[in-house]
Symmetry: C2
Subunit: 298 residues, 2 copies
């Protein structure tokens, strides 16, 4: 599968396309807005006028857009890939969207003899640039193997986690754990500050033990330094939590922690906007406690 | 400070005494029940008939008991250490108790010209046996230095975190982060199982990234294997969460995540008792979801 179509040229899609070009793939792109297209064309990609036209020019169609409706539009919408794909080709959706919508799209593609993988990623734009993304892949094992060279151009850890939709499920598990670990960090920091103990000292005392987490190690010091730049934006975290809560709702399965964090982020969004980094979760708890972590202690 | 008194010979205290003896300290012990005393005497400790009598025989009095009332009893109670300690000696409480009670006891000791450190630990009985405990120390810096050789006989990471009470505050921060990270693990596992995806595969896909934590790495596989042996018992976790919630209540600071986990553990205690390991938190969520993680998927 040497001819790749790529739709969705945001901060993730652009470096992923460049890594595919670097690895020797022919890549044809389309995007809703110009800047992403221009950047990829300058790097050696061809341009097509619609997702359908991209599909006509490739054996492997990749989408990297924001949410379920965006994926539906570019794959099964009016000018979507489904109208241009030949039998035997493969669609890989690398966006983070609903597992249920993923399965519905896969079923529509299967009717045209087009296989689908869901392959959401973690690692952020830095991982996309470095080609070190973690890719969680759902779908048939033989299809995963056919696509593996392309995955290896974009990512470092490629894990086949189950049938179509399983990639999205595992990505949502990831986001559930991420957001609740973030709450753990925020709550420990606010309790510490309110108790008059230096938060940096607390972090250094507990980070290596049973309380340790990626969130604590990487975002804890940012909170103490009052650095709320993203990293990962609250807007995207909230989108992912909505997906998890919707999927859990369909399964009649309460997500008590995720739901709590989602509600707290609503207060962060109101006061600080949706473009701050997820470490701003602490600001919701600071609001409840009437204190700022990292401000001079009492 | 070569002559140490040690009160509280449970699963933590016994190996701590043996490590002190091993390091060449003279140790005099007292415990509420016989077996701990016999074990320590066999290892070379002397025995005294009350905490007061222990205090009379030492320059450094260490307590390692369960909760705030136990510490009050052995230090400032009727037969407590305060009645036997000479001016210039030091009390180190290594139990996990209330920061406020700690400060009250320290003030009473200060009137007798006895200094106090609070030095709660993490690392469990395996850390106590290996002498690799993490020790979070509150108190005056010069007192910490005088006691450091004894700490180094029992622990690996000794962090001076602030004035008296700060050790307990940091330990409670640790427990806040531990219990909420545990919820993160449990909720991701239950959502995964309910979605029909293999929990072990999910764990291997997300553990190394932004969702990673000590709890996920160490307790996640136990949940999948249905191994609920402690580790750290729910009864002691609940005691520590009560201490955190009480301290936060006094500070008028809501702990929304800790409070939620504390409530969920109540259901675990009812159904499975208080002696199970903390990874049994998942069983509360399994009850809500009507599924077991690690059981054959749907």
């Amino acid at each position: 599968m040497e001819r790749i179509g790529f739709v969705g040229l945001g901060i993730m899609g652009r470096p992923m396309v460049k890594n595919l070009l670097q690895a020797g793939f022919e890549v044809t792109v389309w995007n809703r807005s110009r800047p992403g297209v221009d950047e990829c064309v300058a790097a050696g990609a061809a341009e097509a006028e619609s997702p359908r036209a991209v599909a006509e020019a490739c054996d492997l169609f990749i989408s990297m857009v924001t949410d379920s409706p965006d994926v539906e539009e570019v794959i099964v919408g009016e000018t979507g890939a489904i109208h241009g794909l030949k039998a035997g080709t493969v669609v890989v959706d690398m966006s983070t969207i609903s597992p249920a919508v993923t399965r519905t799209i896969a079923a529509q593609l299967a009717e045209q003899d087009v296989a689908m993988l869901d392959a959401p990623v973690s690692g952020g734009d830095s991982g996309a640039i470095a080609g070190t993304l973690s890719i969680m892949v759902g779908g048939e094992a033989d299809v995963v193997e056919r696509v593996r060279p392309a995955f290896e151009a974009m990512g470092k850890t490629i894990t086949h986690v189950g049938p179509v939709g399983a990639g999205q499920t595992v990505k949502l598990c990831n986001q559930i754990a991420v957001c609740i670990n973030n709450l753990a960090m925020a709550e420990a920091l606010v309790f510490c500050a309110q108790s008059g103990v230096d938060p940096s000292t607390m972090l250094s005392a507990i980070t290596q033990g049973a309380a340790g987490s990626w969130q604590l190690s990487n975002l804890g010091p940012k909170v103490v330094e009052r650095d709320f730049a993203p990293g990962f934006k609250v807007a995207l975290q909230q989108k992912d939590l909505r997906l998890a809560l919707e999927a859990a709702d369909e399964l009649h399965t309460p997500l008590v922690g995720t739901s709590l964090v989602h509600q707290l982020f609503a207060a962060v969004e109101r006061e600080y906007g949706t473009d701050v980094g997820t470490q701003a979760l602490v600001r919701a708890l600071e609001g409840l406690a009437g204190i700022e972590v990292g401000a001079p202690s009492r």
